[in-house]
Subunit: 268 residues, 2 copies
Amino acid sequence: MFYLIGLGLGDAKDITVKGLEIIKKCDKVYLEAYTSILTVGKESLEEFYGCPLLLADRELCESTIDTILLEAKNKDIALLVVGDPLGATTHTDMLLRAKEFGVKIQIVHNASIMNAVSCCGLQLYNFGETVSIPFWTETWKPDSFFPKIVGNYLRNLHTLCLLDIKVKEPTDESLTKKIRQYMDPKFMTVAEAAKQLVQIIENNPDAGIDKNCLAVGLSRVGADDQRITVMSLQEMQECALGPPLHSLVIPAPNLHPLELDYLTQYRQ
Amino acid sequence: MFYLIGLGLGDAKDITVKGLEIIKKCDKVYLEAYTSILTVGKESLEEFYGCPLLLADRELCESTIDTILLEAKNKDIALLVVGDPLGATTHTDMLLRAKEFGVKIQIVHNASIMNAVSCCGLQLYNFGETVSIPFWTETWKPDSFFPKIVGNYLRNLHTLCLLDIKVKEPTDESLTKKIRQYMDPKFMTVAEAAKQLVQIIENNPDAGIDKNCLAVGLSRVGADDQRITVMSLQEMQECALGPPLHSLVIPAPNLHPLELDYLTQYRQ
């Protein structure tokens, strides 16, 4: 059996009782470590779960997943994923391959940022489509997420912006070498995201959204040290919201009175 | 301290380890029993959690919540909510009142249908705004959710339709009497939702969506006996998907190849 188990968002104890029981009976447990992170490291999880965890980075998930799935034909293998296990396309693909191989699967759901974002008081059913904001480089400044934010905004819907993370990314130089070298992990902050957004807005003054629009910054949602802050997008460029992960929300222009009351407590 | 604890979607073991530890130390534990249901009853939960649960129906949540919150000033009180605790407006309102009273709060997130719907293979970031489909009566047939579905569809986004549930609703006759009488609980099926939608589409032939569009029926998401089925909306009117809860998804007209592959396995 192949188990895809969501770990939730905070620390080791955010796993469900069902998920923990499965881990304890598994022959091998992998920890997916490149689409998101918890606030605690691998060692804390191993201590709490009482078993060793094998790190599954992007290379493993994309290149040797077939070997793992085939192993799951006769053994119990789990892959632990931060948040809900079906948040990322990679895992849907894995399940299709498992089916192809005749491997039985079980999914154990958990909270993900896609629903826990409601902690800021904005109602989930007022969110439009979610966007991802990638790190810009000197030469690559994609902005395909921007029309989606505007589309939501003009329909009076909130937008959850997931911010880029880079974990175990090979350096450009090492791509042509035999020995891979990796960049330090980096996680986009709400300030960096706001800067990129303000730049796009300044280049598109008639898009229908202004840099003085409201923005909600969230960090470490679901953890004890979770932080929420509300200010204009313009001001958010200077916001220091502590350690990762960060998420940004662009609220609809007209809020429900209850949403407004709730946000007000976080207004800077 | 006032704890709002999500129970997830399936059975007693879908609670998080953190949530379970909090329950065990609480002085009083309420179970919210009108916005959603688990696949198991109150007794199973009490047995697994090892403590008695007080049923919190709509009347209690809306009229005597202040008493409960004030009690939480000096005691540890938990309110258990199916899914994620912040899925419904009621609970956001509760948290604002708690703040007003100076009561400390903690939220324990969990999976909700809003993220677990990804089990059908449709990607969460391709969902537009969520809608609720209410039961129609002879004289009340609201369709304000329909333009939202069409709006998502025309922007090539999926729509999650949450289907109405009626738990402990007073009968019309009893509203004027001193003794309240309650209707039997009822839960909208995907077939009932599809019938209402087809009727609206037939009344709005130029809306931009056809009754032969694809529909995904889901029942008991997150439970062992979860079912997923894919057929046209027209056909969904005759679909029997077993016991509640049901949810319906109207997928975007143009699917990602991976989404299409995944849905195909459920095609009737």
